[in-house]
Symmetry: C2
Subunit: 489 residues, 2 copies
Amino acid sequence: MAKVITPRQEDYSQWYNDLVYRSGLADQSAVRGCMVIKPHGYALWENMQAILDKMFKDTGHVNAYFPLFVPKSLFEAEEKNAEGFAKECAVVTHYRLKTDPNNKSKLIVDPEAKLEEELIVRPTSEAIIWNTYRDWIKSYRDLPILINQWANVVRWEMRTRPFLRTTEFLWQEGHTAHSTENEAIEEALKMHEVYTRFAEDYMAMPVIKGAKTANERFAGAVDTFTIEAMMQDGKALQAGTSHYLGQNFAKAFNVKFLSDQNREEFVYATSWGVSTRLIGALVMCHSDDDGLILPPRLAPIQVVIVPIPKPSEQIDQVAKTLMDQLKSQNIRVNYDQDEKNRPGFKFAEHELKGVPIRIGIGARDLEQGLVEVARRDTKEKIQIPVDKLSTEIPLMLEKIQINLFDRAKNFRDQKTHFVDDRKSFEEIINGPGGFVYAHWDGSSETENAIKESTKATIRCIPLDAPEEDGQCIWTGVKSKKRVLFARAY
Amino acid sequence: MAKVITPRQEDYSQWYNDLVYRSGLADQSAVRGCMVIKPHGYALWENMQAILDKMFKDTGHVNAYFPLFVPKSLFEAEEKNAEGFAKECAVVTHYRLKTDPNNKSKLIVDPEAKLEEELIVRPTSEAIIWNTYRDWIKSYRDLPILINQWANVVRWEMRTRPFLRTTEFLWQEGHTAHSTENEAIEEALKMHEVYTRFAEDYMAMPVIKGAKTANERFAGAVDTFTIEAMMQDGKALQAGTSHYLGQNFAKAFNVKFLSDQNREEFVYATSWGVSTRLIGALVMCHSDDDGLILPPRLAPIQVVIVPIPKPSEQIDQVAKTLMDQLKSQNIRVNYDQDEKNRPGFKFAEHELKGVPIRIGIGARDLEQGLVEVARRDTKEKIQIPVDKLSTEIPLMLEKIQINLFDRAKNFRDQKTHFVDDRKSFEEIINGPGGFVYAHWDGSSETENAIKESTKATIRCIPLDAPEEDGQCIWTGVKSKKRVLFARAY
């Protein structure tokens, strides 16, 4: 039997943890705040990586790899960036262990192997990368540099949750260098759009595109562009960010180039990243009390075939032919031949793991040339003639993909509010939750006061919000544009 | 003009470093012993990864990801493994920085943020993985576990060289768990064979398969299987290892399972890995004084088209058609349209970077329907009719792949010696170098004495060496089998 998952209604947070651990996405580890990404979770990440990597390459980027460690003196060079990450840094201070003289079976840190300069385990790689770019950039002919890195990073978080916030996580970080401000801003916006397309077209997760306020910007950025998604509890989740860094890092690391006008100038920069956090977003956006619901374009297994009640020569033959037909269309299909478990157990397991389509093949249905096809997203079951499967299954996968997006978008729209006064704002934020578009006076003080009072933050200043006259819900000061508020992960 | 590379004859070691840096494979970094893998080097690694990953999946493995950090108490659990790596461990002792009270622009380690238990940056992941497997394995039904991980690891090396020996490196590490000794040994040998196929069929690098002596085994292994390649200076390079770990880690981490006989038993283990070191091996196996020579199956760009002397409408048209023809055959082809540089400069650059085939298209040749095709491996140049290119180029790529393997194998065979006495042994090892097959008495003492005296080590006990009567070249003690000696990287 499938293991029990706490229902969402009862405890959303517990539902999430149960689901992540029981569906085989991740496991806890012996290291505080670090998780083990199990094969099912990693397969999902590999699919995400493959698609993103292709999108990056199609937009002209190449991959490279920079060191895990950042010497402290480099780390502190860009002041705001250093300040932003200093409180959550894992620091390497020694490079050797030795046998404990008091206990031969134990090891202790060798005090004689203390590093002259401490090494920071990268929380992000701007410092080490811009220190390297200095040697690579002499003239405008060396620009742009369009590099991405797939890597692990470490941020010492006090409260952690699998995928959403872990001490170590996997991500990609793009770091580009440009000769003009315009080109750099264009790059930051281009990658913002790449993330939007990935979230909506592959994760089936609608997002709001916008810019962060000064308070919420990446440490060291001039502008941070974000995509914000709504989870099923109405809270927002920041799913990806793209930063225009101006000349901040170029100045901190003295990276200049000779322009085509023969003038020495500082280089303009961007950085952009998404992480394994996207897996948490995916889980919280679509799944239900029976388990994961994965969008077909990312699901490690898209179709599972279950023999009913167990494999037989006849069923195996039908399954094999079907597998060949689907595989030839690049559909990821599996035949669950395990004889130890009954169909009911298997159904629950595949639902738990989020396989989009389950095909049950039984002798009785086969007599009429039929099989039973079950959709994970709607739980709908229909009978389909065997000879129609190779055309119907690909269409159904597309339908599921679209349905997941539409469902998530409808849910978000229903939980999105436009409010014009503090009372209504508080009623929604403290009550049902969701996204709230409201006017704000533009000051960090007000933003902080709202956060303190309601735990809601400004998720973004939406890029496509129309200009309109309004008044800040908190201070009454005039405003020209609504911003997006929500409580967030 | 291409930058100057020290010739191999003059200084082999300097040639290697020049080549790695100047061909754009890697760069030095601000972190002691760590390198930056530049886009050209990383593209090579991506190609290696894609092929290996497929080979692993085709043999039933899945990927997962385990934490970067290993708590010290876990690290020391398997005694031999801990002892083997204790001297080269980066140790995290603190999790926060703070502003230096004496200098506001500097950061210092916050003494109040000292970890209760130090964290070791993984030098290899057996400890953290076997500590996790304990929770995953209850019964024989949970076995085998066939997991691989792509990751970075850190070993604090005193003398480092790009790719060959770096403090941080990228690798894959497989960690499998089995219910019987036989099955585990079979797995270790299977992956040993996978590495052999990869080295020979993709890297075009012939290898000797064998087992390591007790002295040279992985710390914690019962048996280490290795593939050993010869570099152009006659030295050996260990290119991949696969370990049968017996029940050592299962015992250290108390990982037991209930067998199908209902008995509680310790689990049997293997681990196996190859790393970015393979890039160093590839460079040293095939390249020459003009630059890299890359085997077509791994080369990031397999064919480069150069317009002579520069792009024109006619040449662009021919190039475009050719590109389409080659791309449709999955050939990685590039058209060098850069107008800033002349053909001579481009030729040298593409030679430096190791592009297997260069096609020069010039107006004069085109009048006769011909283009010039240059092979990187032999420097041969021939004229080929334009309409034959789409069939000739794929064949030529195959020929280059085979030629590189044959050339490396001939070189190795010429530098491989069978000797039966100490004097001849020393003459070869201290003289021209190369591989030496010789009898050895089987003792670690003798092995150490030979190493001390000649710097030659036993690279392996070859798996396919015939039994024959002989005498140890050092002690005269009787021996049944020759082992492979060489100086090594």
